[in-house]
Point group: C2
Chain length 222, copies 2
């Protein structure tokens, strides 16, 4: 019997990861974070819609508003303007949220210990993404060692990253194969109502659907 915690922001990558976890595991529990990000409202409504769609055995929303209080990211600090278009992968983008994935994973591990889940799924993408340090395989390998040394050890808990080495187009294809409801996901960094179509995240998503040869069910302003 495999029970898993799935980190689900409501974005395209986490949606496909959730669909993958649902296909692989006997029981899934969905975990979402409100952290004062610009599209918190829309992401939360996507999460709720996906909970309704997939019917996990448990669903939890954690308030991490301290992440926006400390600032340091264009995703949480509205005084830092978001860039349009994609940016060079040689530089860490201004949308990097300090140590966010580590903090999210910690909550997932704590919850997994209590509910006896042995897997934690996260939809991080290393290859075709934006150069976030906490989306790299080397980071997840290190994190797995922290779990092994810092938990009770009664059950083995491992981080699973099914789309880590996929291109964004491959993620769309995988999602189509798994019948993931892309219409319930949200990728835009800037808007809660209609995707802007010009932020870094919208550009990556539009390109992914175009390369995969499928139509994105979401409308775009641009």
């Amino acid at each position: 019997m495999i029970r898993a915690v799935v980190l689900l922001s409501g974005g395209m990558d986490s949606l496909v990861t959730a669909a993958y976890a649902v296909s692989e595991c006997d029981e899934v529990c969905f975990l979402h974070f409100n952290y004062g990000q610009r599209t918190e409202k829309r992401e939360l409504s996507c999460f709720k819609a996906l909970v309704n769609y997939y019917q996990p055995i448990q669903a939890k929303v954690i308030d991490y508003s301290w992440l926006s209080e400390i600032g340091g990211s264009a995703l949480t600090d509205r005084t830092i303007p978001l860039q349009e278009g994609t940016i060079s992968s040689s530089k860490i983008p201004i949308t990097y949220v300090p140590f966010r994935n580590a903090t999210f994973l910690c909550s997932a591990v704590a919850w997994a210990e209590v509910i006896k889940a042995t897997r934690i799924y996260i939809g991080a993408v290393e290859e075709d993404s934006s150069g976030y340090p906490d989306c790299r395989e080397v980071f997840f390998q290190a994190f797995n060692k922290v779990i092994a040394t810092g938990t009770k050890g009664e059950i083995p808990i491992a981080i699973i990253t099914p789309v880590l080495h996929n291109s964004k187009a491959e993620i769309v294809q995988l999602g189509i194969k798994l019948q993931a409801p892309f219409e319930l996901s949200w990728s835009c960094y800037t808007d809660n109502d209609v995707a802007c179509g010009i932020c870094e995240s919208c550009i990556l998503r539009k390109k992914a659907f175009a390369q995969a040869g499928f139509e994105d069910p979401l409308p775009y302003r641009n």
Copy 2:
């Protein structure tokens, strides 16, 4: 110029660690967590008193009430009775809070990245403590690798554990040497007003002061 983030629960070990950080660093920032623990109220008032005493350049309190929502610990779940006296170190105690130190350290790292602090002090004790997995050197070594791989890397950030290998009596002696205000600290797991004197944490503290040859300024009910 050394700037540090200090995790300060208000307990004896974190107080002495803070005193040590103050003596070593040019600038300190204090960080505290409310996580629905039984003595949240008293710990917070100790933190505020210590902020007033040491005058750090910044002080922050983060709400981690999700930790008590998920439960799994006698410190946060009042339906799990606390044991009296010390327990066998071969077993992980019921006061272990799932992956708590990892989650606390993550927030400290995120904050350190933003405010450009290079050190994070935590008052974990491995040798003379209760067998918590997330108080062991092997855990902090693994965590330092997560920091190295999961942050921007613009500045090196390291976890510092000054009392990790000290006995509790040595911690008292170090605190006396550093003129740490023990009267502003709190160790009891159960009570917000008068230390019970019989919980695991009170027993360890009383024994530490007795062995160190100093009088604990706190009164005890038992």
